[in-house]
């Protein structure tokens, strides 16, 4: 891959972010704004005593913990962000190779010297690696505001807020864990992503119905013909929420390098290769 190809891939990623700025930039920003508004509203309804007790309880909770040990607690506020992100990711993947065919802009995209492989790869990298960064950046801004606010509260109520530096480090560590969790999830769910993208490339309308409908049909046929439930078990084996969370750097190696993960990546890659093939012709 030479310098031009890197620049070209950068342009493809930039296109994805610009096209989906509402999902990747506006959605987390609005969520952060709502959380801030709610927090301000809640604080105005709490008396000084309640605030003091809360801060002291927090100090007690974190007492003696290192930033890495505190990090999982700091991941809790990230849950609504992760929820919104996954919701947006499903919509994004469903439309990834469908929407431009619908609005005919595919004729423009295909008139550029960009391979279908790079187009599909750019969409995967966008949703698995780039878009989460915008969510992480928003959460980081939210944590910084929260810690700054905590410091001001402590100062104005004359309460000693201990360990602000540790809390900041814990917040940063938690965001790294959130990011790594999302990237690992993308790899873990690559078969699902591949399936959705395949039908996004194939369906003439309502790709979500195609993706779900064909899956149910194939699962039914499998059980009817072979009397097995491999497909159902395969999906079930990948649907436990704890599988997606990285709470320790040790976890990453275990999650990434194991037979199940590699098998999933293989299945996902085959489905994505199908999507690249389907993308070849637009009629």
């Amino acid at each position: 891959m030479n310098k031009f190809h890197l620049l070209q891939f950068h342009a493809l990623l930039q296109r994805e972010i610009l096209e989906h700025r509402n999902m990747f930039i506006m959605a987390p920003a609005i969520l952060a704004g709502l959380i801030l508004l709610f927090s301000v509203w809640a604080m105005t309804r709490m008396g000084q005593d309640t605030v003091s007790i809360s801060i002291e309880y927090m100090a007690l909770l974190f007492d003696g913990l290192s930033p890495l040990e505190m990090a999982p607690i700091f991941m809790i506020p990230a849950i609504p962000f992760i929820g919104i992100f996954y919701f947006c990711a499903i919509i994004y993947l469903m439309n990834s190779l469908y929407q431009d065919r619908q609005e005919l802009s595919i004729l423009f995209w295909q008139s550029m010297p960009v391979s279908n492989l790079n187009t599909v790869l750019s969409k995967l990298v966008t949703i698995g690696m780039v878009a989460p960064l915008f969510y992480i950046a928003t959460m980081f801004a939210l944590y910084v505001i929260a810690l700054f606010w905590l410091a001001i509260l402590g100062w104005s109520y004359d309460i000693e807020v201990a360990g602000l530096g540790y809390m900041f480090l814990a917040a940063v560590a938690s965001l790294i864990f959130v990011y790594l969790s999302i990237v690992t999830t993308a790899l873990w769910l690559l078969p699902t992503i591949g399936w959705v993208v395949l039908f996004s490339a194939f369906a003439k309308r309502t790709p979500i119905l195609w993706a779900i409908g064909v899956f149910i049909l194939v699962g039914f046929l499998e059980e009817f013909i072979f009397g097995t439930q491999f497909l159902g078990n395969f999906v079930q084996s990948r649907s436990t929420p704890t599988q997606y969370l990285i709470l320790d750097f040790q976890d990453i190696v275990e999650r990434l390098i194991n037979y199940d993960m590699l098998f999933g990546i293989l299945v996902g890659s085959i489905l994505l290769a199908g999507a690249v093939y389907m993308r070849r012709f637009i009629d």
Binding site: F4, L7, Q8, H10, A11, L12, Q14, R15, L18, E19, D100, E103, L104, S105, I106, L107, F108, W109, Q110, S111, M112, P113, V114, S115, N116, N118, R280, F281, I282, D283
Partner: protein, 286 residues
Amino acid sequence: MSNIIEARALTKSYGSLKALAGVDLTIPTGAISGLIGPNGAGKTTALKALIGLCDVEGELSVAGMDPRTARHKLMEDVCFIADVSILPKWFKVSQLIDYVEGVHPKFDRIKTEEFLSATDIPANKRIKELSKGMVTQLHLALVMAIDVKLLVLDEPTLGLDIIYRKEFYDRLLNDYYDGDRTIVISTHQVEEIEALLTHLNFINNGEIALSAMMTDLADIYTEVVVDPEQIAQADALNPIHIRELLGKKSYTFESVPKAQLQPLGEIYTPSVADLFVAKMKDSRHE
């Protein structure tokens, strides 16, 4: 002169409908070639096949490559403007230029900005806020700044008013065409491009009904406003088309020596539009 496009026996079906039924098409490098045909004749399918957007059977070579297997490589040497507003509507003009600059190795940003500076298109507007004429101007400004061997235009001025249409072709001829580049144009507005063309191809029912150099048309086709007393002789020479013209009959002949036609009445070289009508009706009767 080498050929930039060589197609042999191209076929494409949509269910029972044959969009291309054995198209043979050869376009030499440096030509401005028209692909003219009625609705549903197979023009768009043929043009999409040329740039690898449509799977066809048969032999096909464009700029030395097979578009079916090397589309993205081919698109470094080929540009395409389609008959519908296909620029992504959510892009701002400046973002679109950034994108093309990012993905196309032969794009010259300065040229596009120069072209656009002569228009009313603001860089900070989204495509969806531009009129159809402006979108076409923008697309042309992008394409003209890409140094390619072949430009494929599929009804590029459809839906535009006459000012935009005239400006489009003027710029294409004066600012873009240099004699080395090849342009393939498909359009309904035959009269507007007649003066530009060096080669002419008629397509009907998925087949090429005529393929000739513009300079050869006058030698091959003759229109005669036949004197009433010469009607029988004219009929005997197998005209490809007969039409009423101000109370007289006008006959179009193919490959009949002019000396033989001269005694029948006033002779002309048919316009592309008249020839188009004649050939379309002729091919319907075959």
